[in-house]
Amino acid sequence: MSVLHRTEWRAVGTNCAAAVTADPDDEREVSWALGAAREEVAACEGELSRFDPASDLSRLNAADGRWTPVGRRLLEALDLALRAREETGGRFDPTVLPALAAAGYDRSFELLEEREARWADDWRAGTAIELDVRNGCARLEPGSSVDLGGIGKGYAAGCALEAMLGVSQTLAGGLVDLGGDVAVRGESPEGGPWLVAVADPRRAGETLAVLALDSGGVATSGRDARRFGPARSLHHLIDPETGEPALAGPLTVTVVAPDPAAAEVHATTLAIAGLGEAEAHVSSRPRISALYVPQAGPAVTLGALPVVSQRLVVRAA
C-alpha cells in the first residue's frame, strides 16, 4: 500500500510543500526525493528572484543592456516568458517590472512600506530580451528590467516535481505546491487523481470547488492578496497596455494547464481580463480551463474544468 510523504518549508516568498506517493518502506528514496524538490526550488530562487541582489536575474536587470552570464534555469524561464508574451499577444509581459516598481512593489512583499504610488511615465511594454543559450548569456534592452514572479514560481514547481520524481522509479507520483502554484504527476496515495481545492477568495478558510488532476499544473492569480500602497488600494497585476494596476478583471482566477508555468501565464493573463475576454481566451485554447471569480457575483467555469463536485459554480454560456 502506498502512502503520502510530505515536507513543508518557506521559500520564494511563500509557503511551499512537496509530497510523493511511495511505499512506507522506501524511506531512503523518499528522503532523497523530498530533498531534491527543496534543493531545486532553492536553485530556481537563486537564479530567478528579483529580490535577491545576488541572483542571476538581479545581475541581468542591473546590467544596463550588457550581455550577462546567467544560469540554465533563468535562460529557460526567460524563454518561456518570451514565448508566453508572443502567445498571449502581449497580455502577459515579463517586462512590466519598472511599472510595478514605480507603483510601489519594489521589494519583497513583507518589506513593503506604505507610500504614495507613482506611475512610470517613460515605461513601455514589450521591450527586447535576447538569449544566447549556447554561451549561457542574456541581455535586456537598456532601461528595461524583468520580473519572473508568477511564471518563475510555476517554472520552479515544474522543475521541483521533475527533480523529485526523477530520484527513483519506485515513486508512484508526486505533488509540488509553491504558494498555490501546484504541479502534479502520477498516482495520488489513494490511487486516483490528485485533488486540489480552490480557496474561496471571499471567505477565508472556505473552498469554492475541488479539482481532480492526473498530471499538469494549477495556478491562481488575483487582486485579493499582495495589495499595497495607501490603504492597500493597489494590487500587483499590471496591465501592459497602461502600465498601471489593471482596472478590469476578476477577484481571482484559477487555471488548469498541462504544466504549472503555463497555468501561471494564463492565470496572469486572465487576471486582467473581463469575463468576455476570458471566455474567448480559454475557448481558443482547448488545453486550458479556468475558474473565474468575478469581483461580484457567482464564479464561472471556462473550458473543461475537471471539477469533482457538480454544480458548485455557473458554467459560461
Binding site: E110, D177, T220
Partner: protein, 69 residues
C-alpha cells in the same frame, strides 16, 4: 386504468428529470474509496452545501500570500 396511466407518466417524468440532470452536469471524476472527508463548498447564489469527498484534499490553490521569512 387511470392509475396505470398515472404510474406510466410518473416514470416518464422521473426519467426526463434524470436525463436533464445528467445532460447539464459536469463530468464526474471517479474517486478512490478510502478516507472519506466532508467539506463546505459554495453553490449557486452563495448557498453553502456539504460535500462528501471520498479522498483527502492534497493541496489548495489561492493567490499566493506573502509570508515573513
Amino acid at each position: 386504468m387511470q392509475r396505470i396511466w398515472v404510474v406510466v407518466l410518473s416514470v416518464w417524468a422521473m426519467l426526463a428529470i434524470v436525463a436533464v440532470l445528467a445532460w447539464s452536469s459536469h463530468p464526474m471524476v471517479s474517486l478512490p474509496t478510502s478516507a472519506a472527508q466532508t467539506m463546505v463548498v459554495k453553490g449557486h447564489g452563495g448557498k453553502q452545501r456539504l460535500v462528501v469527498l471520498k479522498a483527502p484534499i492534497h493541496a489548495t490553490t489561492a493567490t499566493s500570500a506573502a509570508v515573513n521569512r
